[in-house]
């Protein structure tokens, strides 16, 4: 034997044998080295879900619209009212920031903490009627929402899970140099129980305490996230807050179409009716198309175009400064009423996401 033969025996031959042996291994025959395997838990995601936004910076703007305001104060729920004054609102829009940071993210629990800030600036022509002082105030200041929230996803086993979400919001006509009392912080929460039958479906039912409709309410909620077999079409629904169909054009482009109900109750500092402080119950429904596009790495663009339908832009007096619950059946009077004309809106943002 010459040197070449020895080189083959000591180098290439063992590799060849290794490859041959690997081909013959039946991995069905493998079991756990210790007593049992890792417990399988339901994942918080399904295949084809839209990108999960860790950080999002966006700008929202609405087209010009007409607003109508009542002339007096004191209206029962559902009561008709006459338009006293109207005004054009030339500009409505502002910055939106959102951060959602994982604190614990393991297969048996996911706990996230987040913060959000939304600012809406208005430009109103000729404010008038009962709303005049409010609109004058909105012209000079703006409406802001600042909140902290936490979400816990707790899988119970391979199929079932619980979701808890809690949020505190500080809403009003404040500025960073002029904060109000934190006594009027709004608290929201949601609890859901659900199932994840397979990798393309998760659903859940639950209840929430929410200000999405402007004023405090307690509503049942339904989550239904589904992706089709080819992972092109699907739905992402959290009813009644939002519901979307979706279509993955390709792995870098996602189209969504549906609606979102957005709302908050804003404390209007420095303004009052009958010596009572005021809350602006603002809510709007946004039917829309949304385009999500991968820019680079884990940075995605999101752009929305849709219609902004007014749901509520009414005023409530807080007797003794205390929040109250009207719900669907309460008979507490509104302080003043308004109707905002429908407008077109657009939103553009950049997100740092996880898929």
């Amino acid at each position: 034997m010459n040197l070449k033969h020895w080189l083959f025996i000591f180098t290439l031959a063992p590799l060849a044998l290794l490859g041959q042996e690997e081909d013959e291994i039946n991995y069905d025959d493998f079991g756990y080295a210790d007593d049992d395997g890792a417990k399988t838990f339901a994942s918080p995601k399904i295949n084809g879900l839209s990108p999960n936004r860790f950080i999002n910076v966006a700008w929202d703007v609405q087209s010009r619209y007409k607003a109508e305001f009542s002339d007096r104060t004191g209206f029962a729920e559902g009561e008709d009212w006459d338009v006293n004054e109207s005004a054009n609102i030339n500009y409505t829009g502002g910055l939106r920031l959102n951060a959602n940071i994982p604190v614990v993210s393991r297969n048996n629990i996911v706990w996230q903490m987040g913060a959000n800030y939304t600012n809406t600036t208005f430009s109103v022509d000729e404010p008038a009627g009962a709303f005049e002082p409010i609109l004058t105030e909105l012209n000079s200041k703006s409406l802001s929402t600042g909140g902290l929230f936490t979400t816990v996803f707790k899988p119970l086993n391979e199929k079932q899970f619980l979701i808890f979400q809690g949020q505190s919001d500080y809403n009003g006509n404040y500025t960073f140099s002029d904060f109000h009392s934190f006594g009027l912080t709004k608290y929201s929460a949601a609890v859901l129980w659900g199932k994840r039958p397979h990798d393309r479906l998760q659903w859940a039912i639950g209840a929430s305490r929410t200000y999405r409709a402007g004023e405090l309410n307690y509503v049942p909620i339904v989550l239904y996230n589904w992706t089709g077999k080819k992972e092109k079409w699907g739905t992402e629904i959290l009813f009644p807050a939002k519901a979307h169909g979706k279509y993955w054009v390709n792995k870098n482009n996602l189209l969504m179409f549906g609606y979102e109900l957005e709302g908050a109750s804003y404390h209007l500092s420095g303004l009052s009716f009958n010596g009572n402080s005021l809350e602006l119950r603002r809510a709007e429904i946004r039917p829309r198309i949304e385009w999500n596009k991968k820019l680079v790495g884990f940075f995605w663009l999101n752009a929305q175009l849709g219609s902004r339908l007014n749901y509520s832009f009414n005023l409530d007096e807080l007797r003794d400064g205390k929040e109250f619950f009207r719900g669907f059946f309460g008979d507490q009077e509104f302080a003043a009423m308004s109707r905002l004309g429908t407008s077109i809106y657009g939103l553009i943002g950049i997100s740092f996401v996880s898929l």
């Binding site: 991995y27 069905d28 025959d29 493998f30 079991g31 756990y32 890792a38």
Partner: protein
């Protein structure tokens, strides 16, 4: 006499150094083997190649794509030329280096379900359990999964 002492010192140092390198290698090689993620969908065989650790999919619970009726391929890979590569045999863990203290880092993990590659750190919890954390940029933006070691249970007939 002095020369002899120097030789002894050099030899002793070399011996200690090689022993230390040997220990580190041995510790690092605890990663080698067949492992199963907590979702039990695949089995991954981790090997050492040129001093780094790599893991490839050697078994799939559902090897056939229900849409095409053919063996599953890496259809979510962002690289068009790799979409037809079979998932079985796909190298999903790459470039891990043993950093000591039961931890391997500098590697990446690929998620075939969405075609994304994440930075990754592996921690040996005990001889048969790994904590594998895939993350984006910083470890905060990540998720940890538990993998268990598998061994051959049945003997070949």
């Amino acid at each position: 006499m002095k020369k002899n002492k120097s030789i002894v010192f050099v030899l002793a140092s070399l011996f200690m150094l090689t022993s230390m390198v040997g220990d580190t290698t041995e510790e690092g090689d605890k990663l080698i083997g067949v492992w199963e993620p907590s979702n039990k969908k695949v089995k991954v065989k981790i090997d050492k190649i040129s001093g780094k650790y790599y893991g490839k999919i050697v078994w799939l619970r559902e090897p056939i794509d229900p849409v095409t009726g053919k063996p599953k391929t890496d259809k979510n890979n962002p690289d068009e030329s790799l979409k037809d590569v079979p998932l079985k045999g796909f190298r999903m863990l790459k470039d891990f280096v043993y950093a000591g203290d039961g931890e391997w880092n500098d590697g990446t993990i690929y998620d075939p379900q969405n075609g994304s590659t994440y930075s990754c750190v592996i921690k040996l919890k005990d001889d048969n359990t790994l904590d594998i954390r895939g993350y984006i940029g910083v470890k905060t933006f990540g998720r940890t999964d538990v993998w268990k070691r598998l061994v051959m249970k049945k003997k070949k007939k």
